[in-house]
Point group: C2
Chain length 224, copies 2
């Protein structure tokens, strides 16, 4: 049994409801139990996750219904390699033993050269229009060797979230001079800068990142 049954069921139902109308009722849990040859608790776990992610909603004593498509939970504060056909362009990548002091502090590393830091800077665009510039500072010792040379894995913060917690701060700023031309933003135009820190479950910080977001409405949106 490679993938757990509840995940198979979840994926199956996720497929099936794509072809259904909003607010249409789906089969009851007991019917699914029989059709999918699973126990009710297993079916419920699959449904629980789909509800949690916003694809379904339940009404007690009535049934389980397909959500309006626009209501799926999403968080676009973090770049998403999967869906939204973004284009990524790395403009800097190196490994250093010291970076700016404030960043060293946030990552809780010293200048003793015991731990190296990966720095990467990239431009995220859509339809050839630059949307944001992201700077990453990653403590190398926390990263799997095998991911070190795969940018897409290394810089996809979503992949770290299973075992980490991310705290983000949003700050109104103006664009840094060095990035103004790349983002095509006037130097005094207000933008939003996002600063994030990822910590592992023990609370140790290991990734610091910053993103400078083009002031286009649609970019920064979060649904929950």
């Amino acid at each position: 049994m490679e993938t757990p049954k509840y995940l198979q069921i979840k994926n199956l139902i996720h497929e099936e409801i794509q072809h259904m109308a909003s607010n249409e009722v789906i089969e009851s849990e007991r019917v699914l139990t029989k059709r999918l040859n699973a126990s009710r608790m297993t079916v419920r776990r699959a449904l629980d996750e789909l509800v949690e992610e916003g694809f379904l909603y339940r009404e007690k004593n009535k049934g389980t219904f397909v959500s309006d498509k626009s209501l799926n939970k999403k968080n676009t504060l973090v770049s998403d390699t999967e869906n939204n056909n973004s284009e990524f362009h790395i403009i800097n990548f190196d490994v250093k033993y010291s970076v700016k002091e404030d960043i060293m502090k946030k990552l809780n590393v010293g200048f003793d050269k015991t731990s190296s830091i990966i720095r990467a800077i990239r431009v995220v665009s859509r339809n050839n229009k630059p949307e944001k510039i992201e700077e990453f500072y990653i403590v190398r010792s926390f990263i799997d060797e095998k991911n070190l040379n795969k940018f897409d894995k290394l810089l996809d913060l979503n992949l770290y979230l299973k075992n980490s917690t991310m705290t983000q701060k949003l700050m109104p700023t103006t664009v840094p001079a060095k990035y103004a031309s790349i983002l095509k933003v006037a130097i005094d135009e207000p933008i939003i800068t996002i600063e994030g820190i990822l910590r592992n479950n023990s609370g140790i910080p290991y990734i610091y990142y910053r993103s400078y977001n083009h002031p286009r409405n649609e970019i920064i949106e979060i649904t929950f």
Copy 2:
């Protein structure tokens, strides 16, 4: 059995881990099962939620551990009446049959005076320092009559989230002239404006709100 057993267990464990150190291991699920006289699935459900909320984390074959206190999930994009000793000051409250057209559109109501709209504007402060100004537009017919005159219930968006989905957009702007003096922000200083729409499970929008946030770092922070 007023509150479900899994919630009682969840609350109990939530209490108990307050007095524990970060990364300390808690009792195993089977031990809890016996101590709390519950089945394993019930104990797991309680733990599942505490893990989901960031209070605990699990390591397979090892145990369940107390998270670093700073890692609890929180979302301060929405004002929180509970924790952070914010002070609220209502500066406007009325019920109207028409508001600005763009807001009518977002709430999907017409000018036919069939549905009235509650408008409320308030200042949120901490330590006597204004942090943000929030404007609410609420379609009255969606609100319980009994909450209509309780501002704290009416304007606590967290209370709606159980049965709703909220989509928020973050925009870099400057402060509106009429609010500059209240927020004590210079008229050309960059701030972040948050625009939110709450929809019920059927996808029908019923609350539109906007908040103008003082450019102080700590205000807008989100952990997940």
